[in-house]
């Protein structure tokens, strides 16, 4: 399966482990990702705060460049924000006539054009879940992640419906849960799975930004997750790189590594951890990964806290997964 690919600026270096793991699993999964030639930044949430026409012209340049390739009709973005921006641009160029007219005129300055609807913009999770499919993932998972407790973190953007084409629930999505179960790992309850990580708020208002991160980390910790699975560079940076600062700010002691779902897929496929960028996370993932016998475990993992006597309360038996 062949797609146009929009990596996004963060994946160049800031969140390089995401890109490394995507490239490592793409071949074995049968994904051919053709990078859009000379793509530019999507403007994140910043250009839209300043100039509407410039913001959409910046995004539209990428769609115009991608649509030059007449063989490929789908663009894949691994970043939630890039995904939403590209998708919104395609949509509004079809529905907002005045804006579309101005964007078309601006693109013409560089001899470019884009006809809305030419391309279908999709998030990588959607492609792996729907196009690759759970059966293929199960078959490729030669070293299943048995015993690893994963909190699947979707964040906010890819599940809100207006821009979504995967048909997942807007408040309680399950597609990544299914992907992670196909890899043999255990999915924990995670009520905060589709709440926002705050995006750039750590830079605008520390108290607001850190509080949003704290809630998500607490929810994962309360449900005894070994690792949080992320699908967006911004989410990973907020939950991983800011975890120490958030702990200091609130006096908490959360210590949960945050890996990309693509890294988990790579590990389950038996790829060496370094080949999927393990080790670039700031909260060390090795103790958690030692549970699945990963060779990178430098030290023996702390034994997990024994659960309280579960016979003490008359709790219903957990549902059996098919």
């Amino acid at each position: 399966m062949k797609y146009s690919y929009y990596p996004g600026c963060s994946n160049e270096k800031f969140t390089g482990a995401y890109e490394t793991s995507i490239q490592a699993i793409a071949g074995p999964l049968g994904l051919e990702l053709v990078e859009i030639e000379d793509w530019n930044c999507c403007g994140a949430t910043e250009y839209m705060a300043l100039n509407l026409t410039a913001a959409y012209s910046l995004i539209a340049r990428n769609l115009a460049l991608a649509s030059k390739n007449k063989d490929l009709h789908q663009v894949v973005a691994p970043c939630s924000l890039c995904y939403v921006n590209l998708r919104k641009c395609d949509k509004y160029m079809g529905t907002e006539a005045a804006l579309a007219g101005r964007v078309t005129q601006a693109l013409a300055e560089d001899g470019l054009s884009y006809k809305p609807g030419t391309l279908k913009v999709r998030h990588l999770l959607d492609v792996i879940h729907d196009d690759i499919g759970l059966e293929t993932l199960k078959a490729k998972a030669l070293q299943p992640l048995h015993g690893l407790r994963v909190a699947p973190y979707y964040g906010c953007l890819i599940v809100r419906p207006e821009f979504h084409n995967g048909g997942d629930d807007t408040e309680f999505p399950t597609s990544m849960d299914e992907v992670i179960r196909a890899l043999g790992a255990e999915v924990v309850d995670f009520p905060m799975k589709a709440q926002c990580c705050g995006g750039h708020m750590t830079q605008i208002s520390q108290s607001v930004g850190y509080e949003l991160i704290r809630r998500i980390l607490k929810s994962a910790a309360d449900n005894q997750a070994d690792v949080i699975a992320a699908l967006c560079p911004m989410c990973q940076v907020n939950l991983d790189a800011f975890q120490g600062a958030v702990n200091r700010y609130f006096g908490t002691e959360t210590h949960i590594p945050v890996l990309y779902f693509t890294q988990l897929i790579g590990l389950a496929m038996g790829l060496p951890p370094r080949h999927v960028g393990i080790g670039e996370e700031l909260v060390d993932a090795r103790p958690a990964l030692s549970r699945i016998g990963s060779e990178m475990a430098a030290e023996a993992a702390e034994p997990r806290k024994p659960r309280k006597d579960d016979k003490a309360l008359p709790m219903p038996a957990p549902l059996k997964r098919a």
Binding site: C9, S10, E12, K13, F14, G16, D38, W39, N40, C41, A44, T45, E46, Y47, M48, A49, L50, N51, L52, T53, A54, S57, L58, R61, Y92, E96, R102, V103, Q105, A106, L107, E109, D110, L112, C156, L157, R160, P161, E162, T170, E171, Q195, C196, G198, G199, H200, M201, Q203, I204, S205, S207, V208, L212, A241, G244, A245, R248, E280, E281, L282
Partner: protein
């Protein structure tokens, strides 16, 4: 659509600035937006209150409110709004109107957007080190000491680029953006 007779010039300006913004007049003041908003408790006004102020023509209060700048653009309110008002788009529009008239109270958030975009307009790609560096020096120089461990971690893990990437078609992109800004100013 009822309610348009209650309109005012500011309301019209805000509605025109957002894709689908004309739905603002349909707000029934139910408060689902503020109740769903992750940063709602820290906002000067919840979206519901802000919409009532817009409809009442309270231009200065609205443009000086921190509400649009504390919006994290997660679209939770948008998907829950029973009147299908594109609330997130209206928050973006209020940011733009506020920047246009330089009407904001606190320049921290608008400055962050401007620094981000300056790198993009110059190189075609965003540049995290330059962005956070410039923004911290301007708005929170002492805060840098509090995240030293994070910065050291990001550098030693090879996650920091110290030079921005420049796209090849930069001159073309500059022409596109110049034209876009010219058209935006006329719109």
């Amino acid at each position: 659509m009822t309610g348009t007779s209650l309109g005012n010039p500011f309301q019209a300006e805000v509605m025109a600035a957002a894709p689908g913004g004309e739905k603002l007049v349909a707000c029934v003041q139910c408060g689902t937006c503020g109740g769903s908003c992750p940063s709602g408790p820290d906002m000067d006004h919840t979206p519901r209150q802000l919409f009532a102020l817009i409809n009442a023509g309270e231009r200065d209060i609205v443009l000086r409110s921190n509400t649009p700048w504390y919006c994290v653009a997660c679209y939770y309110c948008t998907v829950r709004c029973p009147m299908e008002i594109p609330i997130t788009e209206l928050m973006y529009a209020l940011k733009r109107v506020s920047v246009l008239h330089k009407a904001y109270d606190d320049s921290k958030a608008p400055d962050f957007s401007k620094v981000f975009i300056r790198w993009v307009e110059g190189f075609g790609r965003s540049f995290e080190v330059g962005l956070m560096g410039v923004h911290m020096i301007r708005h929170n120089p002492l805060g840098a000491f509090k995240i030293v461990d994070m910065a050291v971690g990001m550098i030693t893990k090879g996650r920091m680029a110290f030079t921005p990437t420049r796209i090849h078609g930069m001159s073309g992109l500059k022409r596109i953006l110049a034209k876009a800004k010219e058209l935006e100013a006329q719109a």
